[in-house]
Amino acid sequence: MFLKLHELGPGALTITIDGVSVLAEPGESVAAVLLRQAEPWSRLTPVTQSKRAPYCMMGVCFDCVAEVDGVASVRTCLKPVCDGMRVARPTGKRRIRALTD
């Protein structure tokens, strides 16, 4: 697990990961926040539903992709946090929702 070298301070903001509120710092990436959690993973793979976590942090491995504010397949390593951001970790194959959903 990763730990910050400094306290978050008064400028901290809040994002939610699968509905749970966590603190973050302006300017840092969503993936950096994911890696500080007790369960530091970012997605379940579509093929075997195995856990993956951010791996390259520069946008070339796509293992950190998650749903951010309703947009699927966002590379969280390149996405800076903002207050109130909602992150949902993908759990396997994507399904097409019914129109009534």
């Binding site: 697990m1 990763f2 730990l3 910050k4 070298l5 400094h6 710092e25 300017g27 840092e28 990436s29 950096a32 926040v33 890696l35 500080r36 530091p40 993973w41 793979t45 093929v47 075997t48 195995s50 856990k51 993956r52 976590a53 951010p54 791996y55 390259c56 942090m57 520069m58 946008g59 070339v60 491995c61 796509f62 293992d63 992709v65 947009v71 699927a72 397949s73 390593c77 390149l78 996405k79 800076p80």
Partner: protein
């Protein structure tokens, strides 16, 4: 950034399309914001701040957080940003896509807790955070040494460094040493890092040839084997791996730029002239995307490319540019002097390219080395047949993590030279694009008259600092 600033200085209209959220690429990632980490990251990192400032002040049209998902000759670039797509037209394009770390498949490399050394360094730059618990680093090259020094400065505790550099390679490197001494600054820096590691009493295990990450939902331990057949299993909460870097080629390959196999660096590199112009007219490649030469050389190559674009578009004369380029070429020559030495000293161990059968090669589609080997013997398939048959290279990363391994496995199984085996065909979209983004493109095209084509040079930056 160097290319964009140079082109602006000559009066060109320049747009920079950046995959990253801010200027600086990977070498200077988050450089505008990370001031409080300056002591840890060191002076080479801090230098980037002035470069970013000059870039911001240059009048470049800057699109950060922009995904380039298609580029056509002519040139037309399709870019998505903030959920909207747009078309950008330009007379010349400079690709400054930088490098990515060479994919290192081994059993367990997909487990949470296994990251690249570069990733850990980005987390230090971007978020000021370091791994805790039993932290191991495994690999070879300058970056693990640099990160180790920064990690120790930050107060990190290291369980050990598994040095995978093949022992005895220094002998082959030695003949390049006289030339490398011309760039003695880099060598002194490297020796400084090694001295720091010695005084820190970091446990270093040399001659490591195989590693394996063990765990169920995340890494809990790792097993390694040395050249002398010593095998050990140790507790591990984080494993950082690194086996050198390779050019980020996808945009260039999608435009059919000619590439050649570079055996000294174990990768493909685009064929470019002394200005960086590729086999496609008016398409330039600068920085590590044109072959690994480091961050300083990347800036110089960016300047050269921009100078040539300025001539080709009629903004300056051949004579003026020849005079401006001469000192840049001299500095570039000095920067390149250390490369043959580094290439020989840190040539990756053969095991990097020959993963065991059970190893996942394609992280996205979870295809193993064994599955690819089984097909390799049937009718001499190339990488594209392997892709069609197994889906390796078809996932979201589009072969960025498995392309070279597929190339190597086929080359070994079919006894063919790697240059002949080739790489996946790279096709758009280069990055995932949503239906909504495609729809927004149609609206913008029909919403009003398109602006006239104009003198615009485009720099595309997706990787390291340029």
């Amino acid at each position: 950034m160097a290319a964009a600033v140079t082109a602006r200085r000559h009066g060109l209209e320049v747009m920079l399309i950046d995959d990253q959220p801010g200027p600086g690429g990977q070498i200077w990632r988050s450089v505008e914001k990370a001031a409080r980490r300056d002591d840890i990251l060191g002076p080479s990192y801090v230098e980037g701040r002035a470069v970013a400032e000059a870039f911001r002040a240059s009048g470049v049209i800057y699109l950060p957080g922009a995904q380039l998902w298609q580029i056509e000759r002519g040139f037309r670039a399709f870019v998505s940003r903030d959920r909207l797509a747009q078309v950008v037209e330009a007379k010349a394009v400079i690709l400054a896509t930088g490098a990515q770390e060479r994919p290192v498949p081994f059993p367990g490399w997909t487990l949470p807790g296994v990251l690249t050394v570069g990733a850990a360094q980005i987390l230090l730059k971007n978020a000021g955070q370091i791994p805790t618990g039993s932290v191991w680093i495994a690999g070879s090259g300058p970056l693990p040494l640099l990160y180790l020094v920064q990690f120790l400065r930050a107060g990190g505790q290291i369980a050990g460094y598994l040095d995978t550099t093949p022992t005895g390679q220094w002998r082959a490197a030695l003949r390049h040493l006289p030339r490398a001494l011309r760039a003695s600054g880099d060598l002194v820096k490297g020796l400084g890092w090694m001295a720091k590691l010695r005084t820190s009493k970091t446990p270093i295990i040399r001659g490591v040839i195989e590693i394996e990450a063990l765990g169920d939902e995340r890494i809990g331990s790792l097993r390694y084997r040395t050249r002398d057949d010593a095998i050990a299993t140790v507790e591990a909460n984080t494993l950082l791996v690194h086996e050198g870097v390779v050019p980020n080629l996808h945009a260039a390959l999608s435009l059919d730029c000619a590439v050649a196999w570079n055996s000294a660096q174990d990768c493909y590199a685009p064929i470019v002239d002394s200005w960086g112009e590729s086999s496609q007219v008016d398409l330039f490649i600068a920085g590590d995307g044109a072959g690994i030469a480091g961050a300083k050389a990347a800036q110089l190559r960016g300047e050269l490319a921009a100078l040539r674009v300025a001539v080709k578009l009629g903004y300056t004369s051949e004579q003026a540019v020849a005079a401006a380029a001469a000192p840049v070429r001299r500095r570039l020559h000095r920067e390149l002097a250390v490369r043959p030495f580094l290439n020989a000293l840190f040539k990756p161990r053969p095991q990097v390219f020959a993963p065991a059968d059970e190893t996942i090669v394609c992280r996205c589609e979870e295809i193993t080395a064994g599955e690819i080997r089984a097909l390799a013997a049937v009718g001499r398939p190339g990488p594209n047949q392997i892709k069609a048959a197994t889906r390796a290279g078809m996932g979201p990363c589009q072969g960025r993590q498995c392309g070279y391994t597929v190339n190597r496995i086929l080359g070994a199984a079919q006894n063919r030279p790697l240059s002949e085996v080739g790489f996946f065909h790279v096709r758009p979209p280069l990055k995932p694009v949503t239906i909504g983004e495609l729809a927004s493109l149609d609206q913008s095209a029909t919403a009003g008259p398109k602006s006239e084509p104009h003198d615009r040079g485009v720099t595309v930056n997706q990787g390291q600092a340029e």
